[in-house]
Symmetry: C2
Subunit: 321 residues, 2 copies
């Protein structure tokens, strides 16, 4: 099957037959914005056990057919695939190697499926640490947001040994509409995800500069977005975040929904610039974007939609509403 070849990209349709194999027992650790919809979606097709420190979040997964347990170790004990959907590397370490952690409880042949964005070095260190317990890591960071997570419509980029990938594939196929196997080692998925985040984070910041400059020179941001978003100046982020940035200055500013938190880009641009520094590659724009997201965090926008970064460059004033 060509889809385990590094560099290959497959869609759900192409790999639907793989999911017809014996469904792996799956543990989901972490029921946050992405973990909960993934757990619910998986529970419709596979035996799923969930762990989160919040009983309330566990109850939401149980309502969709998952079983709940109260430690990571209990979640892992009978699982073929242990999916981690936690915030950062500290939470990965705690879930796997902390008290009542996953690693010592893993069955022989079980794989750990890491969906968090933690950076290549952290993924490689995790793979090395898991190897001492005889377990393999599938490095599989996800993109797409909560709604797509709940519909099996995620973009997943994978770095994993073929044997590990094969075991995790029924779970990945259920979650992904596009699955790219970029390399044969843990860390490769994280590297590609970091490049994705470099572009996404810079494009959001560029959209913010465009909207702020439009306001600064007296042009209507919505007209500017409409005029430019389909041409050579266009990006997914300009078309997606641009209108929400314009909305920040309107009567309906309070209706801007938090679709992706700003502090995700504080973390992810930090990973990007860290990788670039280690590789001795200058990334002046990513660095400038990282500083801008840090300024946004300091301005109190950490938990706001990332489109709110525009208000750092062009503050909302009395006259706007």
């Amino acid at each position: 099957m060509s889809s385990t070849t590094p560099g290959s990209t497959t869609t759900a349709t192409e790999t639907a037959s793989a999911a017809a194999a014996v469904p792996p027992r799956t543990a989901v650790i972490g029921l946050g914005a992405m973990g909960l919809p993934m757990a619910r979606h998986l529970a419709g097709a596979l035996p799923v056990t969930v762990f989160d420190i919040s009983a309330e979040r566990r109850a939401l997964a149980v309502a969709d057919g998952a079983a709940e347990v109260t430690t990571p170790a209990d979640a892992a004990r009978d699982a073929d695939v242990v999916l981690l959907a936690v915030r950062d590397q500290a939470q990965v370490d705690s879930a796997l190697f902390g008290p009542d952690g996953v690693a010592p409880a893993l069955r022989a042949g079980a794989v750990v499926l890491l969906t968090s964005t933690v950076g290549p070095d952290a993924a490689r260190a995790t793979a090395t640490a898991l190897a001492e317990y005889g377990a393999l890591l599938v490095d599989a960071p996800i993109s797409g947001g909560p709604t797509r997570a709940g519909n099996g419509d995620l973009l997943i980029v994978v770095g994993a040994e073929p044997a590990a990938l094969d075991r995790a594939r029924p779970v990945l196929d259920r979650l992904a509409s596009t699955l790219t196997v970029i390399g044969g080692n843990p860390g490769d998925g994280q590297a590609l995800k970091a490049i994705n985040q470099l572009l996404a984070g810079v494009h959001i910041a560029a959209a913010a500069e465009a909207v702020a400059l439009a306001r600064g020179v007296g042009l209507d941001p919505r007209t500017v977005i409409d005029s430019l978003s389909q041409g050579a100046a266009g990006s997914f982020m300009f078309a997606d975040r641009g209108p929400r940035m314009a909305q920040a200055y309107g009567d309906d500013a309070d209706a801007v929904e938090v679709r992706s938190r700003l502090d995700i880009f504080v973390k992810d641009m930090g990973i990007v610039t860290g990788i670039a520094k280690n590789a001795h590659v200058p990334v002046p724009l990513a660095s400038a974007a990282e500083q801008l997201y840090l300024l946004g965090e300091r301005a109190g926008l950490a938990g706001r939609d990332d489109s709110s970064i525009v208000t750092v460059l062009s503050p909302v004033s009395e006259g706007d509403r």
Copy 2:
């Protein structure tokens, strides 16, 4: 007709009827990469007189039916519309107000159509200076490149008084597939074009960082571009310039065509950061991009394709070819 309303965008089909009026006698000043194909395309439908300091460039326009003259004044003398397609504001000033310049030779009612990217302040100053000669300026910077210029397939953004716009419209309609009237004053078109260039220039630089980082972490740039260019990380420039950036490291590096010179972005990002400074709007990414294009110019890439900026971040080495 709604197309003279600021904020309106029209397509060639919608405005075809306007071009059916008496064709204006048109002078084209400047037969560079954009001026020559525009002159040739206009000469197929309108009486066109051309001026350029190069007799060779004039001869190319004459072959397509234009008349040639040897001073800007002679080009302007009988013209209803004087189209300027020169490099920068210094050339605009020289063509209009220098020895044998356009301004003193203009007929009553003639309009000057400025297609160059010079910035809003320069366009406003030009309009003020032309007013002393009783002439109106149509501020109409163009985007799209030489091929589209020769096919009447340009994106043109316009700031002009309705009376001036009406007189220039048959020429604009012949050149543009998309015409956006962003405001009623000269300078408005330049402001929108500057925002277009902010996004385009930042997106090219971001694509360069992505390709350089891919190389730095050992991923194949072409695979990275294929994987990411259609998703949330996508931009027109990543899909367009990305493959040419990857080509810079391949056996076919010498075949990278100069579609848009790198030093255009030295000029245009300078305009962007100048406007932003005047408007007191911080643009940290555009500033970083400006510095990167300056580094590219200093590295000897001024006349190379702008995609070559990637080689500043990740130099071509012996092992690449």
